[in-house]
Amino acid sequence: MQSYSIDIHAGIAAYANEADWHLQVVMRAYPEDLEKWDGDGVIVRSFESGGRGEAAGEFPRIDLPKVVIGRHVAADDARVGALAADYLLRQGYSSIACYAGSARSDSDCLAEFRNIVARHGEGIEASSIDMPAKARGWLERKKAIQAALKGRQQPAGVFALNDELGSELLEAAMDAGFLVPEDVAILGAGNDILICENLPVPLSSIDPDFKRLGYEAARMLDRHLDGRDLPPKPFLIPPRRVIVRRSTDIMAIREQHVSRALGFIQRNLHRRFTVDQVAQVAGFSKRALYKAFQKQTGMAIGAYIEKMRLHAAESLLTESNLSVGDIARHAGFGEPRNLYHAFKRHHGKSPREWRSARKR
């Protein structure tokens, strides 16, 4: 392996154990080390993670049956991207972005990520945090991240292509004063526990199921040794799931936001306002507010506002002598006809009829 993954190793070792192989491990391989190695078969990992199809130059000097992780068996990058998009959309951020460092941002993973956001984002677009053409160094990357985050609507949900980049993003965001996850929520990929669980804000990450990847690579090699052909296209291993840690855990915060929305509605019942305004005050996207509100109160926000206005109008109708027109305005219905329609819908009566029925 050129780049070592303990989970891939564990998966290969598990198969080796079952199949009673002698597994020779070279954790940092130089081609020369392995020249004329004389075993039965080889499993190698391609140099570039995500560099599928580019692994042809791997250990050319070993002329043995060979399974290349990345070429014959690979993580299903597209599904990783889809899972990330789906997860961030369900969380309901105001904006969504992805970050691939200086790497190519045209990978299957990011393409599918954008795809899913475009299809289901209902107006939210997946922008990428792109690096200026020459930004190779750390500092340039950090500046580019911070500039990009400042231009995003918050809360922003950002998907980083791997956990190392997630850690980088987290540092840049916190350094610029953003709260994670309140302002910027970050999702990594790889679920490298040593990285994810030891950051100032533990990092949520997609578990790519590398253990299974290693296992399947070993199994494929075993079958190949028995004479079976290697697949022309990689056998794809789907990711397992999102492991949620604090960097995207917005449930706790969401409660605060909903109660902020409730307070605003109470205080402003006497005037007209839109759901957009409530969302802004509460620090949510409109979409996110709809969802969180429904979840927490069991009601749609529009229905809730109307119910509150109705209650206000009812008490004014019974306890005051204000005209229906005034009451419509005081309860935030604006035009009297809005009040009229609401009463017809809820009570089957006009406000005037409802008032006289009460007074009798």
Binding site: Y4, H22, Q24, Y30, D33, L170
Partner: protein, 372 residues
Amino acid sequence: MIRRRLVLFAVRYYYPKVHAGVAEYARKAGWHLNVVFNLCPERIENWHGDGIITQVRDALDTRRDCDFIADLDQPRVLLRKHVVPDERRIGFLAAKHFMDRGFHNFAVYGPGSGGESLRAKSFREAVPPARHFERIVIDSDLSSWIERKSDIEEKLRSAPKPLAVLATNDGYAAEVLKTALDLGFRVPEDVSILGVDNNELICSNLPVPLSSIDNNLERVGYEVAALLDRHIDGEPLPQQPVLVPPRGVVTRRSSDVLAVQDRSLLKAIGFIKANYASDISVADVVAHVGIPRRTLYEKFSGKMDKSIAEMIETFRLEKAESLLLNTSLVMDEVARLSGFGSLLNLHRNFKKNHSQSPGQWRKNIGTVPKWG
């Protein structure tokens, strides 16, 4: 509020255990740790933070262009230079492991960049000169597999058996194991093998599970991080490297054997192994074997280089060490369960073998020291 420290951990050779130790310290100290595993220079150009943990370049690195980190002028601590495993102690433990099992023929296999590594040298020096010693040294310039293999084959064939081989890491140990089995030797009966690093994924998944020295790499990672933290505070780096003692030998099948043919010796050692935890004496061993005390004593000192009493002590000491390392039992219990019986006895044996009390030993070798 104190500003959070930003630290870069950038390595070419990735050891999960070292990372675990560094990460443990980072979490406790509230660092923000940036990690770069497969180090290539562009990734960290212009990186700017409070400090860097990286490693010394070695001969192998010259094969690739990686002048990493040279241009980052920030406090930095180097693995393999400022904090290193205690190689002498590793060599000593390996030699002791085999001598306790009655071996007289030794070999060491591992890369010496042009010469002998400190690990291999310490092992050689810990073996009494009277015993047979082979070296299988890889010259790192000629380290293709085919050359390594023919060297191992030649030495394994010609060396007297039973042969005890220390490989300087688990990967090399797996190569020796494979070659030995291919040549038709039995492992561990003909060739007994010990690796270093105690990489579970390698050791437990070989046809013959591999014994290995746990060199406490988690602690190496933890100490290197702690050293950096103090260095950022202004403390100069030590002239001499910080030595991290190994935790001990983890015995699996590849060395779980007695290199002893003599039936009464086998019977005696078997009895000691089964009963060291109870209150047995030399007289009990003699009575069990049923030959004169003098004869048995001579067999022990001739083959095992120790008396019967010392053999009993060896088992008790190993048990006590393992209890101290892996449990939080109080000293009284450790003394009782290891067969030393009394606290006084336990202390005396630790002082004799480790020049420190069992309490000190536990504190010094424990995986990761307690915080604060």
